[in-house]
């Protein structure tokens, strides 16, 4: 299967290890992975902040770049939801984008990817994965098959962490208050690692975990699934 990787601009720039993990994981599972290098950004930041014209321009570029692939895989529930939910409203033809866990479970039909990660992990489902893409328990099903991994439940898991893109800058007080509650719940689990399928949410929660010197690491789902 010829799969295009949609890395997302945030991962490309700040979290290349997530992209490397996706490539390694998909190749291991027999996919022919391509990275269309003309890709930039899905336009979510612009559209969601109210800059529709710029957003539509980026969306059209995106649709052109990914035209003709069997599947487009993104290690971001938020960006995948942007393409799937918002492109039709913007009048842009949406390519068939899957979030990574969706692609693994629904398309490749694997839950055990052969990973080994002997740590205590808790999972934050992230809003757009949960309510935009309706990923359900796909990510946790994948994690449960990781050898050595102890998955511990997170209180208030389905509550937003307060990132919300430019919300974190426009409403910093509320954003920080939401994150401090999220961080408290994470610490209560006693987990060493907080996992999610969206690095932007993890950047927000992880930045707070680091500022508070909690010692809890954040990791993208792809990196745990690629661990051996």
């Amino acid at each position: 299967m010829r799969v295009a990787l949609f890395i997302t601009c945030v991962n490309d720039t700040l979290f290349p290890d997530t992209g490397k993990a996706v490539v390694s994981l998909l190749r291991r599972l027999g996919c022919d992975v391509d990275f269309p290098q003309a890709q930039t950004c899905c336009g979510q930041m612009h559209v969601n902040t109210g800059y529709r014209a710029e957003g539509v321009r980026l969306a059209r570029h995106f649709a052109e770049v990914f035209d003709g692939y069997d599947a487009v895989v993104a290690p971001s529930g938020s960006c995948a939801a942007m393409v799937r939910e918002q492109y039709p409203r913007l009048g842009v033809q949406a390519p068939p984008v899957h979030d990574l866990s969706e692609f693994l479970v629904d398309v490749l039909e694997v839950e055990d990817v052969g990973a080994y990660f002997p740590h205590r992990v808790t999972y934050h489902p992230t809003c757009h994965s949960l309510r935009g893409l309706h990923l359900g328990d796909r990510p946790t099903r994948l994690l449960r098959h990781v050898r050595g991994l102890e998955l511990v439940p997170l209180e208030g898991a389905d509550e937003c962490c307060g990132f919300g893109g430019t919300f974190a800058i426009k409403n910093p007080a509320i954003s920080a208050a939401m994150c401090s509650d999220k961080v408290r719940n994470v610490l209560d689990t006693g987990a060493e690692v907080l996992c999610a399928a969206d690095n932007s949410c993890l950047m927000h929660i992880g930045g707070t975990l680091r500022r508070q010197k909690t010692g809890v690491r954040v990791m993208h789902l792809a990196e745990i699934l690629d661990a051996r």
Binding site: I7, C9, N11, D12, T13, L14, F15, P16, G19, K20, F35, Q37, A38, Q39, T40, C41, M45, H46, N48, T49, G50, Y51, R52, E54, R57, L58, Q86, R89, C127, H128, R131, G132, D158, E159, C160, G162, F163, G164, G165, T166, F167, A168, I169, K170, N171, P172, A173, I174, S175, A176, A177, M178, C179, M203, H204, G206, G207, T208, R210, R211
Partner: protein, 462 residues
Amino acid sequence: MSVFIGMPGDFPANSAKAVQNSQLRFNLRKATHTIRGKRATVVGELPDWAELRAAGKAIKDHTLRHLDRYLVQLEEAVQRAGGQVHWARDAAEANRIVTDLVRQTGETEVVKVKSMATQEIGLNEHLAEHGITAYETDLAELIVQLGDDFPSHILVPAIHRNRSEIREIFLAKMGDAPADLTDEPAALAEAARLHLRERFLRSKVAISGANFMIAETGTCVVLESEGNGRMCLTLPETLISVVGIEKLLPTWRDLEVFLQLLPRSSTGERMNPYTSTWTGSTEGQTFHLVLLDNGRTNVLADEVGRQALRCIRCSACLNVCPVYERAGGHAYGSVYPGPIGAILTPQLRGLGSDLDASLPYASTLCGACFEVCPVAIDIPEVLVDLRAKVAHPRAERAGMRVAGWVLAKEVRLAKAQRLASRFRKLVPKRLPGPLSAWTDTRDLPDIPKESFREWWARNERA
């Protein structure tokens, strides 16, 4: 009490203050989480909830599409039943109509129940200017009124108060409160009951809102928990109902859907304790219906935003919203707080003021509000649509334009990434300007030595 509408400030500033109030945060968290849990339980009991929700949405959409026809049908039915119908284009007109109606009775006191519409237009303040005192009779509204305060929630306007605060308000402001009043809920309710009973028996004029109006029969419907509404609706000689034009349902049959959707979504009850209906004038009572537009037809004209008019004021979106939970209702500066307020208020009032322009941004777009909405209002969709209509700050506009330019071509993005990684050691721990909002409470991620695309290019060449 001053008029709530047109409050100065903006949402970020209002909510930043609210979030520092630990008592408020505790009260809100406790109340919203309790009611959230109750709602989830009773909604889960209905196997056909999704169908009910779809039916609610469809009925409302149909009614809104033919609102002109149904409003005329309603007017005729009310008149046939001996009631009088008044049309009010805006707040000023509605206030004038109601004030004149009260003055014609010669009374200087009115009792009120269940009306966000009259709060929206600032009716109590307008009546006061003309020497008429309006007494709220809903328990929570009474607490808010006595406390010289503003409502902060659609269903429980005094959600921001706990019982010891309520006890203090009663002792200070409710003339006939017993001196040994405790903060036991039963004692507080009893004090309010005795206080209100006296008002009900004395008042000749009542003002109400309505949850629904039935076009085919001209019937108004109120759902409530305390029975005070029923006292207001039946005892006085003159009843004036002020209702937004969007509250219409075509037929009695349609009501069945909403009698299931509303109580389960709002109070987490299978059925609300009191459902009152009234049609025109009854013996010994004159009835006036004031139909309020006040911006609603403008909302109706907006293709995306009009879905806000489906709202049945259940407040499920408030109770589930993580932003509302921390900001509280007052930060929204409107009688309609929370996610629905963030889309309804700026549509009704326009996006002119700082507050109204900030409301579409009072959300992380987490989607919890859409998920619980019993009439499936896609609040995030409307928020994003409104954001595209707001005037953006100049610095932000410039920044977004630059970002758009960089992201338009992969060579520009690649160049920006190389620049960032070359100077990655120089990125300060605290960012300047508006970006300091990020670094005030969070560390920045480390900028990697090479971007993913550089790694890919290097690897694929090898």
